[in-house]
């Protein structure tokens, strides 16, 4: 049972990863706890891209838009808690718009921050996938959307804070009480673990199998009686919901949100995490996100722009030398061992 063994190998890696994040705050390194809390959110974002790109083969080059919609909705809601937010007042808004009053309830903002990107992704997916446009076109359309979205956010100074974004947001709170660093960290940790388990279960189900079928041979799947457009729209919507959820967490944890957080650079970053970690098995998304961000944090202080250059080179290196990424490479080693063992018995 080759696949079974891979799953076992995955399970141990996953368990080790989550154990590490589970006990990390106990070391009392506040600065890193804060940093890792952000990375856990990035990990959720990476999972959302992995089910879309890794499993269904749909390369979304502007995935940060979905993250951004969630993030901005949450940020607007949080900023309006104490009346008209500063950046709006500066633009001459004197009366609180009706929709913003609705967002003042954090629960409502969070729910909308998850549902909105999902609906938008689903509509776009339904619209695009029901025609004969290919996967490449999906990538370029999403890239274009990312650009248009950045422009849009920056132009709507009144409601988005323009180039500066929305700052000074309160941290995560639960039942009206703001959480301290450790509590906030564990809330995010629990969320990421839940999303991971959710994605794992979903991708292990028949739905996940069908998505992989779309990636491998969409035409064949059609002749087996499946409508690939439905599945692609569905996974895009799910991916949008998860990305939106990551954005909803990011706004309070980061304390601010700006066009930089939701633009091309962040979309690019997620592509790199998955390429390096290996896509299509979720474990790789976790490894890639953590590795690239931790190394990036260490190197970018010393090397500045060199770090971005290294990232670009890393993509090239991965494409040529480890096409399945780190997790794929690990699996291959495990599989090779298993095959040797099986051949010995046979």
């Amino acid at each position: 049972m080759k696949r079974l063994f891979s799953v076992e190998a995955n399970k141990w890696t996953d368990a080790a990863l989550f154990l590490f994040f589970g006990i990390f705050p106990l070391f009392g390194l506040q600065f890193y706890t804060q940093l890792f809390e952000k990375y856990l959110i990035f990990m959720i974002f990476a999972f959302s891209l992995d089910i879309l790109w890794g499993y269904a083969g749909l390369m979304d080059l502007g995935h940060a838009v979905l993250f951004g919609i969630g993030g901005y909705i949450m940020a607007l809601g949080l900023s309006a808690q104490g009346g008209i937010p500063d950046f709006m007042a500066r633009c001459g808004v004197t009366q609180m718009p009706q929709w913003l009053k609705f967002l003042c309830a954090p629960g409502a903002a969070a729910a909308l921050g998850i549902i909105m990107p999902a609906i938008m992704a689903w509509l776009l997916g339904k619209f695009l996938f029901s025609s004969k446009v290919g996967g490449v076109f999906f990538s370029v359309i999403t890239l274009a959307i990312a650009q248009v979205f950045s422009l849009f956010i920056q132009s709507q100074q009144k409601y988005t804070g323009g180039f500066n974004g929305i700052c000074g947001l309160p941290g995560l709170s639960l039942f009206g009480a703001e959480l301290d660093l450790n509590q906030s960290y564990y809330a995010v940790f629990a969320a990421s673990a839940l999303i991971f388990i959710f994605c794992r279960a979903l991708m292990g189900s028949r739905f996940g199998l069908i998505l992989q079928g779309i990636r491998e041979n969409e035409m064949r799947l059609e002749f087996l009686g499946y409508d690939p457009a439905d599945f692609k729209a569905a996974v895009f919507a799910l991916s949008g919901a998860i990305a939106g959820f990551a954005g909803v967490l990011y706004a309070p944890v980061n304390g601010m949100i700006a066009p930089n957080d939701v633009g091309m650079e962040f979309s690019t970053a997620a592509i790199v995490w998955l390429a390096v970690g290996g896509k299509g098995n979720l474990t790789g998304a976790a490894i890639g996100t953590m590795l690239v961000n931790i190394i990036g944090n260490a190197l970018s202080e010393q090397f500045g722009p060199f770090w971005q250059l290294l990232l670009g080179l890393a993509i090239l290196a991965v494409v040529f030398f480890v096409p399945d990424g780190i997790s794929g490479g690990l699996l291959r080693i495990f599989e090779g061992k298993r095959e040797k063992a099986a051949d010995g018995h046979g």
Partner: protein, 286 residues
């Protein structure tokens, strides 16, 4: 009415720039079937070449344009030889790799020139009037030059020996190889040609737009959408597509603002492509 004709002329000018940017995309994507996500960075290289030639080396713009072609073409040839060739038949990997290249090129430009935008002086000053609309001479030059470059590219691909080799390789690679066409060389040259055209686009855009390491993204999207709307393998279609994109952006920008115009045009193109994936002007193929 005057402002309307001014908008039309403006639109014609941006159409010309879009056409130049899309031309290289048509050659690379339409003929070689390679999705090059670093296309915008090849345009950026052309723009920086023009910047260095005119502002740093003090040479004339007339020298800068061929130099931009040469530098971008060389970069493209290197890309083809080092990366694209090795990933033949793997479209997803090729896309990811060219994406990596675009990040590398952006950061290299960032390291060399810094992130702040650079400017190139407008090489042809002066203006003239059509009716009451003011037309800068440089804009007229860009329009004429874009038309000439397009015509030249079409002639090169349709009438010369090189062009016949390119179409032989596109239509039936193994047969062309059997007939003694060095398909590897043809690939490199085609890719270099497409990249060089992108370089020219960058050089001509440089005086009217700023030059910066991250300028490529919008050009990539714009040239891709334009060439798809026109039908990827058709030059006439691409010309029509760039007119459509340039004029509608200019006209809509005239009645609202640039951002809304960009969004509206993007939506329009998406809808068109959704219903005509082969492009508006593509011949029926089977």
């Amino acid at each position: 009415m005057d402002s309307f004709s001014a908008l039309l002329l403006n639109g014609l000018n941006s159409s010309a720039l879009i056409l130049l940017a899309a031309l290289g995309m048509v050659v690379i994507c339409g003929l070689m079937n390679v999705i090059n996500l670093a296309h915008g960075e090849l345009i950026m290289i052309g723009a920086y070449t023009a910047f260095c030639m005119t502002q740093r080396a003090g040479l004339s713009f007339a020298a800068a344009v061929p130099a931009a072609f040469a530098v971008s073409a060389a970069a493209g040839a290197a890309m083809e030889l080092l990366v694209i060739r090795r990933l033949a038949g793997k479209p997803a990997e090729t896309m990811l790799a060219t994406f990596g290249i675009s990040v590398v090129l952006q950061q290299l430009a960032n390291l060399i020139f810094g992130a702040q935008p650079q400017y190139v002086a407008i090489p042809i000053s002066g203006h003239f009037y059509i009716g009451t609309a003011v037309v800068p001479c440089y804009n007229a030059f860009v329009i004429v030059f874009a038309a000439a470059v397009t015509a030249g590219t079409v002639l090169l691909l349709k009438k010369t020996k090189f062009g016949r080799r390119v179409s032989a390789v596109t239509q039936n690679r193994s047969m062309a190889e059997c007939l003694g066409v060095d398909s590897a060389r043809v690939d490199t040259l085609t890719f270099a040609l497409g990249s060089g055209l992108a370089g020219i686009a960058g050089a001509l855009a440089a005086p009217v737009k700023s030059v910066s390491p991250f300028m490529g993204g919008p050009y990539l999207v714009c040239s891709f959408l334009t060439s798809v709307v026109g039908g990827v393998a058709s030059f006439a279609g691409t010309a029509a597509g760039s007119l459509l994109v340039g004029e509608s952006t200019a006209l809509l920008g005239g009645i609202s603002n640039d951002v809304l115009a960009n969004i509206a045009v993007f939506l329009m193109i998406t809808i068109i492509i959704r219903f005509h994936p082969e492009g508006l002007f593509a011949k029926e193929r089977r």
